[in-house]
């Protein structure tokens, strides 16, 4: 029926369709985006309130930034899989789409969503949390880019797992935290280096770890996804 369709082209089309579906659906309902924005604003407000005008050391503030980002991710990145299960539309995807395309499309969606929530959190944090100033921007940018990618990667595969379980909400952070801890520790360390004004070369070790983490997690996820997805 439709000629001149290489398998790669078909796969790309399918991946794009999964991404665009989630994207368009989100634009129409705006549910996840508004929940995430409110979450970030609320959490930063609570932190400001708790600090009570007093400062905290740059080390503590570096860690707290990623606490906010982690929990924001936990509140928003599971939706892409959980919604399909809850609405019963997962079967349509299983019926029509190659599993690898489903995973790739949803990973892409979470990468975009994750980047958005990271940028929002960082911007609000820099503006409102006065004790936190970045001295080495190159390290900081590297940290938030790689951190956000790694966060999205790990969160997506765990989201796929919990979507098939019962108590999805509380299970998500429980499963995600041990997996994400290496990423969080590394990225907090890099953020501290950026806040302390260290030269870029000091953070190379951290970046190496972050990049290998991303590669390992994505590779493992791709290999294991079909076991999770197929009944």
């Amino acid at each position: 029926m439709t000629a001149a369709n290489t398998p790669l082209l078909r796969w790309l089309r399918a991946t794009g369709a999964v991404f665009m579906k989630d994207w368009r659906s989100e634009l129409r309902t705006r549910y996840a985006i508004s929940a995430l924005v409110m979450f970030v604003i609320t959490t930063i407000s609570i932190i400001l309130f708790a600090l009570g005008g007093e400062g905290a050391s740059p080390e503590v503030l570096s860690g707290m930034l990623w606490v906010v980002i982690f929990f924001a991710a936990m509140s928003g990145l599971a939706r892409t899989f959980v919604m399909e299960e809850e609405r019963g539309t997962a079967m349509m995807l299983q019926l029509t789409t190659a599993p690898s395309a489903v995973f790739a499309g949803k990973l892409l969606f979470n990468l975009v969503l994750g980047a958005g929530l990271t940028v929002l959190t960082v911007v609000l944090y820099l503006i409102f949390i006065s004790g936190f100033t970045v001295k080495t921007y190159s390290i900081f940018l590297g940290a938030i880019t790689l951190g956000s990618i790694g966060l999205a990667a790990a969160s997506t595969i765990i989201a796929a797992i919990i979507a098939r379980a019962n108590t999805k909400g509380t299970l998500y952070p429980v499963l995600s935290f041990p997996i994400l801890l290496p990423l969080l520790m590394t990225v907090i360390s890099a953020t501290r280096l950026a806040a302390d004004g260290m030269p870029f070369s000091e953070a190379l070790g951290e970046f190496q770890i972050l990049i290998s983490y991303i590669v390992v997690v994505v590779t493992t996820s791709v290999l294991l996804f079909e076991y999770i997805w197929k009944d």
Binding site: N5, L9, K21, R28, M91, M92, T96, D231
Partner: protein
């Protein structure tokens, strides 16, 4: 391509309870397979296995052209209409059609989509969100989604669910056409739903 679906010793169990076992059948082009049985006998389970949605606990089922088809090719040849297959109701009818084609990796042709929707008496409402559709309209939309890629195998679980007499007539002509073009699989309680059955699987005595 001439397609044949065959099953040998098919068995399905959940949590150590056997739903059915010892299922054998073979059905080829131009033939109809009827899956019959009371409610709860496992008709939908067998349907899901045929569509590649479930892995059987035991036995074998395969779809062959010149040689056995892999999961990907299998998916490409099947169209399913079932009560448990949900559509994306925040999108419109034509958006759903474009979506399912793209999910299969295929290019969309809006002209073809519109004629398909017209045949199913949905063209007028093609741009309205499916959320506002009646149950009969949703059922007809499911037929459109199942047929848009012209599948060799059309699988219908409760084919006449939610349909009025007009809808029923449309579906009967679809079933006729599918019989001529490829394989038709029908799972139902109501035997008047389907005529001219070549192969019949009765799930009532297969526990």
């Amino acid at each position: 391509m001439e397609i044949r679906i065959s099953a040998r010793g098919l068995r399905m169990a959940f949590n150590r309870r056997t739903v059915f076992q010892g299922i054998d059948f073979s059905v080829g082009n131009g033939e109809t397979l009827l899956v019959a049985g009371r409610n709860g006998s496992g008709k939908s389970t067998l349907v899901k296995i045929l569509c590649g949605l479930l892995t059987p606990t035991g036995g074998k089922v395969e779809m062959t052209g010149e040689k056995p088809l892999d999961a990907h090719a299998w998916r490409g040849h099947i169209g399913l209409v079932a009560p448990y297959l949900q559509v994306y109701d925040e999108f419109s009818a034509i958006e759903n059609l474009r979506l399912t084609m793209a999910l299969r990796g295929l290019l969309s042709d809006d002209g073809a989509h519109r004629s398909l929707l017209e045949r199913l008496a949905l063209d007028v409402r093609r741009s309205d969100p499916v959320r506002g559709f009646s149950s009969g309209m949703k059922q007809r939309l499911k037929y459109a989604l199942a047929l848009s890629h012209q599948p060799s195998v059309l699988v219908l679980d409760e084919p006449m669910a939610n349909l009025d007499s007009d809808g029923t007539m449309i579906v009967r002509s679809i079933m006729e056409e599918q019989r001529r073009r490829g394989i038709l699989v029908v799972a139902t309680n109501d035997l008047s739903d389907v005529s001219a059955v070549q192969t019949r699987v009765d799930l009532d005595d297969r526990r």
